[in-house]
Symmetry: C3
Subunit: 157 residues, 3 copies
């Protein structure tokens, strides 16, 4: 306890994804072992850019159509205004020399942050392993709890 | 510290309620003492199915009319589409042999998960003790903090 | 670990702000050292009532216009109904003799709760130091992690 951190990324909001990676990278930089657990809507954050062809049933196709395709397509939880809000936020980050979300995600992987996709959510949403970014593991609630039991910093975002 | 977990269930979203009970049951199964604290909109999750007649003032009736009657009436936080999204999610869970929310809630009580409703929220929302499911205690922020101070896994959902 | 608590206030919802201060004040009353970290939309919670004139660029003005001016202007996350929901909640709190949000915030400062505004969020949203309430510090993710590493109760609200 004290040297580890876990983050459950439940949301596919751009702003919450951003907060998740700012905290994850900060914690990794301060020497903590960090585990991120992507569940429910949060799965969209770790979908790969070039979506492979995957056979899906009807509901899987429905979810696939309605949810963001990857981290580049996320919306703000407020003031999204059809994507204008998220675009404003990104241009603002550029002006202020803050890394974009994709860069933060790469940095996280390089810094050894463990990224895990929730198996149960993948089943429910019909997301296949091939759709996930390289470097993302698959795990269940037991693997989350295992990581959390050694950590004092456990957030649900 | 290390053998206990607390979850604040603040939301009445179906998906967040589901996540709460997946974590609570997983933690209980791994030997942790788990306390769930239902507050604000989260109160609706622990309302009993057969609502008793309770005298309410005007605002209490308003909140009662506008909020979900019980855990069977929750909406998805996204893609709810007038209930179609939540229904899709449930049919999906059935197909994948994942327990439904009500079963998870029963399992939690059987596994000794402590379920507490927030007194202050009940006052504000005008929810009476008789409206809560059997097995649900009533407590305040002090009882939450008491549970949290012995736990390293404390989530706000 | 065990004597400290941190709360990330990410949201500008009235109900979530309320929950944050109920927990913060409860934790302070029980002898914990509490740090609150206001980030993203949560910055609006700690803006001062009498907004000073601040030179802003175009995007800063846009965010300033669209976001709540201060803690008195927050909306409910659900059932806000153009402000009627938040007003109902406040009148309800008054009837039940629960402190209003502003009183809770004053109590928090008096009780020694540390309130920190996130520097990166201020940069992105174009919020200036003069716009923040007295008693609010400015810090980055490192200062948050520093506080969190000594705490077992760390919530993201």
């Amino acid at each position: 306890v004290g040297k580890e951190a876990t983050l459950i990324v439940f949301s596919d909001d751009f702003d919450r994804a951003l907060a998740s990676f700012v905290i994850a990278n900060g914690a990794a930089a301060s020497g903590k072992k960090v585990t991120m657990f992507f569940t429910f809507w949060g799965l969209s954050v770790v979908k790969r850019r070039k979506a492979p062809r995957v056979a899906k049933d009807f509901m899987g196709r429905m979810f696939g159509m309605m949810l963001p395709k990857n981290s580049g397509k996320l919306s703000l939880s407020k003031l999204n205004m059809g994507g204008m809000g998220a675009a404003m936020m990104k241009s603002r980050m550029k002006a202020k020399k803050i890394d974009q979300l994709e860069i933060m995600m790469e940095s996280a992987l390089k810094a050894g942050v463990r990224m895990t996709a929730c198996q149960m959510s993948m089943d429910i949403m019909g997301v296949a392993r091939e759709e996930l970014m390289d470097g993302v593991e698959i795990g269940g609630v037991a693997s989350y709890l295992d990581a959390a039991s050694g950590a004092n910093l456990n957030l649900f975002i």
